[in-house]
């Protein structure tokens, strides 16, 4: 059994993360205002994904977890992406 020394994140780290998240949120809202047509959704999703990965790594301490858990989280998101992609093989070609 592995000895579990848990990582302690400092308050300043948490604050920094929050500020970055808020900035990204603002960017998202502003980016919608400039009309990018079909790309808006893509952009919004990319920004959301960045935010989500920040929450995962810092707030949810993934950065300090073992490799296995990180792989699992990555794998789960990947699996979901593949499922959506396969569903769209149907809808895109119809």
């Amino acid at each position: 059994m592995k000895n579990n020394e848990n990582h302690v994140s400092s308050d300043s780290l948490n604050w920094t993360v929050l500020v970055i998240l808020l900035i990204l949120t603002t960017i998202t809202i502003l980016a919608i205002k400039i009309h990018l047509g079909a790309y808006t959704v893509a952009l919004a999703l990319i920004l959301a994904s960045i935010k989500v990965s920040i929450v995962l790594t810092y707030f949810m301490h993934l950065k300090f977890e073992n490799m296995l858990l990180r792989l699992m989280v990555g794998g789960v998101f990947l699996l979901f992406a593949v499922v959506i992609a396969i569903t769209f093989i149907d809808y895109y070609f119809r």
């Binding site: 699996l79 093989i89 149907d90 895109y92 119809r94």
Partner: protein, 537 residues
């Protein structure tokens, strides 16, 4: 060994008695048995419904029941068999009982959660039964709940949907528990590749349970929302998409079929080495084929929808992947045969059931391939051929594996032995009855006899009749088998700790196992299934 003041040594069965000591027990072995008893009761109920359906089909037109009853009957037969019997089935019964023992742990990671899942399971099962008898008539949508029919049918569909939802939740919790158990509770020295193969198959299964079940959960919720709140995701009149429902349903339900078969494969993988006294052939390929089945099985759901008007591109894509999942299954079959080859093969009842598993699974698998091929699927979709395919693979595969498992681990569970002669006789009835029951359905399916048909063209009568006769032979076998086991569990001869000379950990402890499995946690020094090396220190 335990104290000697009592005549019988203390074990998990007698260290505490009384109904409440069972209902409140967090002991994985007792929970496993509680699953076994409840599942058996539900199995018999649903099986009797199956028999009634067969009697109805003895003659064209109405034989013993109305169309309404028949439609309700195959629905509830399907719901019970799928959601209550085979999906939990092996994992909840033998997984619970033997997974911790086989990896050298005292219990699962979350024992209370384990008991909680059983209660959730019971709640779901009760709801399922209730949907049959509640006001109005029983649900008649088929176990697939296809919209728009299920969104409008004036029956207790909402209750049945809720039941399936709740059962899914129980399944998720069991899967979660197993994954954590396997990750965190293996005995010292038991590296991943020293783990026996039944736990491996449960590991692959548990991931499917965990990651596929929520999708059907939310889908059923959407149908409930559709019925109660008129949201209309799937209602074409409101712009909804009925085919989208089918996608979501099968995204879960195809992987779910591997939830049924993977533990079954795990069981027989334990049986072949033991009864041949020979190491399992190709341990690593078997592990990876389980994982591959779990993974690729996730991407083939569309093969249930080949005629639903999905795009041409996705049809061939799904067909292609469907063929690919056959490969890991093929690898396993060949590995099992090679495990026996050259061994010292002892044809005891567990092995008898295990080799019939191979036979029936092969037939079921190949007919699966026939269904996976685009051209032939067009002819066979929703015909009796499909019904025969999945009975062969579920009942013939998973069901016979269950029978094999109970005959294999019986002496460990109860510390007693059943009668071999009667076990063989019951096998005879089961095997003959089974094939007579389902083989004619293949033929009729090819000829175009649709499934879920209350009535049929008289030209199919011979086949339907043979099939009904088969059901009666099968039931005889089942009754003999169950009686033999029940009798054995109470009166059978006392069984030694290791009657089959197995090497995995469950055979290293007394029968029945003591309350906390091991007096001392074993230390693993070697890969399993080595009959010339000790497994533990």
């Amino acid at each position: 060994m335990t104290n000697s003041s009592t005549s019988e040594p203390l074990n998990y069965l007698n260290h505490k008695t009384g109904l409440w000591s069972w209902l409140s027990s967090t002991d994985h072995k007792r929970i496993g048995l509680m699953y076994m008893y409840t599942i058996t009761i539900f199995f018999c109920t649903a099986a009797i419904l199956g028999l009634l359906m067969r009697i109805e089909k003895l003659t064209p037109g109405q034989t013993i029941m109305t169309a309404q009853t028949y439609n309700g009957m195959f629905t509830i037969h399907g719901i019970i068999m799928i959601f209550i019997v085979v999906i939990p089935g092996l994992a909840a019964v033998f997984g619970n009982f033997f997974l911790p023992i086989m990896i050298g742990a005292k219990d699962v990671a979350f024992p209370k959660l384990n008991l909680f899942s059983w209660y959730v399971f019971i709640a779901g099962a009760m709801l399922g039964l209730y949907s049959q008898f509640a006001n109005g008539h029983s649900p008649d949508t088929g176990w697939t709940f296809y919209v728009p029919y299920s969104a409008s049918a004036s029956s207790n569909v909402v209750i049945a949907l809720t039941a399936a939802f709740v059962l899914g939740f129980a399944s998720i919790l069991t899967g979660l528990n197993f994954i954590v158990t396997i990750h965190r509770m293996r005995a010292p020295g038991m590296t991943w590749f020293r783990m026996p193969l039944f736990p491996w198959s449960l590991y692959a299964t548990a991931w499917i349970q965990l990651l596929a079940t929520p999708i059907v959960g939310i889908t059923l919720l959407m149908v409930i929302a559709e019925r109660t709140l008129h949201i209309g995701f799937f209602d074409p009149a409101l712009g909804g998409d009925p085919v989208l429902y089918q996608h979501l349903f099968w995204i879960y339900s195809h992987p779910a079929v591997y939830v049924m078969i993977l533990p079954a494969m795990g069981v027989v993988t334990e049986i072949f080495p033991t009864f041949s006294q020979k190491p399992v052939f190709g341990y690593v390929p078997i592990v990876f084929s389980s994982l591959a089945i779990a993974l690729v099985g996730y991407f083939v759901w569309g093969h249930h929808m080949f005629t639903s008007g999905i795009s041409y591109e996705s049809r061939w894509f799904f067909s292609f992947l469907t063929f690919l999942v056959a490969i890991p299954s093929a690898i396993k079959v060949f590995n099992w045969l090679s495990t026996m080859y050259g061994g010292s093969v002892d044809l005891k009842p567990p092995l008898l059931f295990a080799i019939s598993f191979i036979f029936l699974f092969t037939i079921g698998g190949f007919t699966g391939l026939t269904l996976g091929s685009l051209a032939t699927n067009i002819q066979l979709h929703n015909t009796d051929f499909v019904v025969a395919h999945f009975h062969y693979i579920i009942f013939g595969g998973m069901g016979f594996a269950f029978f094999a498992a109970i005959h294999y681990w019986f002496p460990k569970i109860y510390g007693r032995m059943y009668n071999f002669k009667w076990a063989n006789i019951s096998w005879g009835f089961l095997f003959v009855g089974f094939n007579l029951l389902y083989f004619p359905l293949f033929v009729m399916g090819i000829q175009g006899m649709p499934r879920r048909y209350f009535d049929y063209d008289p030209k199919f009568q011979t086949g339907e009749m043979l099939s009904t006769i088969g059901a009666f032979i099968l039931i005889i076998g089942l009754i003999i088998m169950i009686s033999n086991l029940v009798y054995g569990s109470r009166r059978g001869a006392i069984a030694p700790a290791n009657p089959w000379h197995g090497v995995t950990l469950e055979w290293q402890i007394p029968s029945p196992p003591p309350h906390e499995n091991f007096d001392e946690i074993p230390v693993i020094t070697h890969e399993p299934y080595r009959f010339d090396h000790p497994y533990t220190k």
